[in-house]
């Protein structure tokens, strides 16, 4: 970084950044004008993945002494490295949240090595001992919230046919589909979930086609795992089907059709992170949690949800929040008839085997490849 070419104002900011970096490295309290950078892969108001993070950033803006800078639609290429550097060099950011999965390796790792005194927090990555110590990854067990959605969906469906619009058959998505289906079967053992993979995270046309096709096949409750659930929610509501949301609360898009949804709770987690830094604690490099840790939450129930469904869902939610309930409890059979979790085996929330999930449970109609 060549300070000679920067205007005086930014020289001062850069100087402040260096001081702050040192201060953070020494684990002292946050200075009065800490700058935090947020980077999103899509648009901030997508009613989905990116909006959930932007809501977390907005919660930080309300805290005194924090300045939040944001950049949206940053691709998962070296562009994101330059965005991070630009936030560091030109805005003086000392804590960065690159929020998209593909930002982690190699991009954020490279920047964390280059700026060892600054802190980098990534959503979704799997931090390991080989990665820099000033980098961290956090994520939520949102399958717990999907399980609750599944229970509500199972009680609400009339046809017993549920639909799931999914991006890609990767472990995180499969885990959500499976949890949703297991929840639904708790309410209605005969319920099935028909899944359609669109192939990518943001494919509005395919998502609309998938939604219509599912409804044409008799599906009457839908949910999804794509970056922006808006397309699915609006189309399903227009066709008279009910929906369970994902990422954020989509009830403003479909007030009558919205049953409940699995939401991120970044607005609770991010202030927690900042407080940990201010208190001189270090954020664990590998940070995970579910309903209990308030990293995920369940949307308020819509008016169409019956009292019976509410009671059953609240009951399980209380157990999950208390940490006394296991979703992936054997015996679990996949939809090809193979036992994937043997009887007597409990795969609890943090079980690493669940991170490698490559099957769809019995009751899901669809294939992983």
């Amino acid at each position: 970084m060549d300070f000679g070419r920067i205007s005086r104002r930014h020289l001062l900011q850069g100087g402040a950044a260096l001081t702050l970096g040192t201060a953070l490295g020494a684990r002292s309290a946050l200075a009065a004008d800490t700058t935090i950078g947020f980077i999103y892969v899509g648009s901030r108001d997508d009613y989905g993945y990116n909006q959930a993070h932007a809501a977390g950033a907005a919660a930080l803006k309300k805290l005194p002494g924090l300045k939040v800078v944001e950049e949206e639609k940053v691709p998962e290429t070296d562009a994101v490295e330059k965005t991070m550097e630009s936030m560091i060099n030109l805005d003086g950011a000392t804590l960065l949240f690159p929020t998209s999965f593909g930002y982690y390796n190699p991009h954020m790792i490279k920047m964390a090595n280059k700026f060892p005194k600054l802190r980098f927090e990534h959503c979704g990555g799997l931090w390991s001992d080989k990665d820099p110590k000033n980098a961290g990854s956090y994520f939520g067990y949102i399958d717990e919230a999907q399980y609750i959605s599944g229970i509500v969906a199972g009680y609400s469906t009339k046809s017993g046919k549920l639909g799931f619009v999914a991006a890609k058959p990767i472990p995180q998505v499969l885990r959500n589909i499976n949890a949703f289906t297991l929840g639904a079967k708790l309410a209605n053992p005969k319920a099935t979930t028909q899944v359609i993979f669109t192939g990518d995270w943001s494919m509005p046309v395919k998502e609309a086609e998938a939604t219509n096709s599912l409804i044409d096949q008799g599906v009457d409750v839908l949910t999804c795992h794509v970056d922006g659930p808006k397309t699915m929610v609006e189309n399903a509501a227009r066709r008279g089907a009910m929906v369970c949301g994902y990422h954020v609360n989509q009830s403003p898009l479909a007030p009558k059709a919205y049953l409940t949804g699995a939401e991120w709770n970044w607005e609770a987690l991010y202030p927690k992170f900042v407080k940990m830094i201010a208190a001189g604690e270090s954020i664990p490099n590998f940070y995970r949690g579910g309903l209990k840790e308030e990293i995920v939450k369940v949307s308020p129930y819509g008016e169409a949800v019956s009292a019976e469904a509410r009671k059953a869902a609240d009951d399980i939610k209380a157990k999950l929040t208390a940490g006394t309930y296991t979703i992936f409890k054997g015996p679990i059979v996949d939809n090809k008839g193979k036992t994937v979790i043997a009887a007597g085996t409990d795969r609890a929330q943090k079980d690493p085997e669940l991170e490698k999930m490559d099957y769809l449970v019995e009751g899901v109609i669809g294939a992983t490849s």
Binding site: M1, D2, R5, I6, S7, H10, S43, R44, V69, E70, E71, E72, K73, V74, P75, E76, T77, D78, A79, K82, T83, E85, S86, M87, N89, L90, D91, F101, G102, P106, G124, L126, K168, I170, P171, Q172, G199, D200, E355, K356, S369
Partner: protein, 369 residues
């Protein structure tokens, strides 16, 4: 770019004055600098009004644009990094344009080039890095070259419109990439982001010494200069331009049009394929869906703004790289959405296209007294 001046003898006879001679000799060149420059200034002016309508100061806008793109050494590196792939992908459109062909499938050639380069590196893990890197470059160029040659062949031998076929081949290329990355070439350890195995840190080509800018910039500049020499200073290039001017006349004088089309299309695709190789060998270290970042499509814009002149592609790519680099700062400082950068690109595009009408109509540049 040759200008349409009268032959020197006549020029000397009718306008002995030094000034007029200067204009006659260089008027065309000045025109090619002045008109796009004026178009750019006009576009920035209109964008300033656009921004003012949203209640932001246009002066702040220009300051941040300058600062984000060219204001510091870091900003320059940011700009050049973003420009690097665009020079190569722009050549994929500009070279066939000499033959009057509109190829818009650079993105597909980039993806196939990246796949081929990754495949070469993974197959040659035993070889020393320099050999692997050369093999990657060769594989990338051959892969991309054959991809666009396919469009050229369809046009020459089957009469298929090359614009449509090259665009459709982008989607086929992307589908092949996704299929291989999620299937046969997938690294089993890449759980939530299907990717190929890494090519190995030793095989990465790194940055231009003293900068953060990767070698794609140098490759692009060399390729652009070589293309310029090929088109304007060789018999082959002359034949290509003749065929581009009037393909029937070219056939009548006995030029091998088919061979010209296939060679130029191969070179064009090789250029985009090399961009793909650089993205793998300098940025991502492996192939995955991140590679489809739209460099191929932005390259079309660069080529048209450069009026298909290989030399002009270099500054135009740097300009668009700068706009993209400063886009982040506009989001962060002025709170403009990412789409505003696209609005600016659109305005520039319209101004430059409209400015075509002015060529040859500026009286004082014609050297007439």
């Amino acid at each position: 770019m040759t200008s349409e001046v009268a032959d020197p003898v006549e020029a000397a006879a009718i306008s002995p004055a030094a000034d007029a001679g200067f204009l006659q000799r260089y008027g065309g060149t000045i025109e090619y600098l002045l008109i796009p420059g004026a178009a750019l200034v006009g576009a920035l002016g209109v964008f300033g009004i656009f921004v003012a309508v949203f209640g932001k100061s246009p002066l702040d806008l220009y300051f941040y644009m300058y600062q984000g793109a060219f204001g510091t050494w870091f900003s320059w590196q940011n700009t050049l990094t973003r420009a690097a792939p665009l020079i190569l992908t722009a050549l994929c459109t500009a070279l066939p344009a000499q033959l009057g062909m509109v190829i818009i499938g650079g993105e597909g050639a980039l993806l196939i080039g990246a796949l081929a380069a990754t495949g070469a590196a993974l197959a040659m893990q035993w070889a020393p890095p320099l050999v692997v890197q050369l093999a990657m470059a060769a594989a990338g160029m051959i892969g991309g070259g054959l991809w666009i040659a396919l469009s050229g062949g369809l046009r020459q031998y089957r009469g298929v419109n090359e614009t449509i076929s090259s665009l459709l081949l982008v989607y086929i290329g992307l589908a092949i990439l996704n299929h291989l990355v999620e299937g046969p070439m997938r690294d089993p350890a890449s759980l939530n982001k299907p990717s190929t195995r890494e090519i190995g840190a030793a095989n990465m080509i790194g940055s231009i010494p003293g900068t953060d800018v990767h070698w794609g910039l140098a490759f692009g500049i060399v390729a652009a200069i070589a293309s310029y020499i090929l088109i304007y200073h060789t018999v082959f290039g002359f034949a290509a331009r003749v065929a581009g001017g009037n393909i029937r006349a070219a056939r009548i004088v006995g030029l091998g049009v088919g061979k010209l089309i296939m060679t130029i299309c191969f070179l064009a695709g090789a250029s985009a394929g090399l961009a793909g190789m650089v993205e793998v060998a300098a940025v991502q270290g492996r192939t995955n869906a991140n590679l489809a970042a739209g460099y191929g499509f932005t390259g079309i814009l660069v080529a048209f703004l450069a009026r298909q002149n290989p030399l002009a592609i270099i500054p135009v790519a740097i300009l668009l790289g700068g706009i993209s680099a400063s886009g982040g700062l506009l989001q962060r400082r002025l709170g403009l959405p990412d789409a505003s950068v696209q609005v600016l690109q659109g305005i520039i595009f319209v101004f430059v296209l409209a400015s075509d009408a002015v060529y040859g109509r500026i009286g004082f540049l014609k050297g007439k007294s």
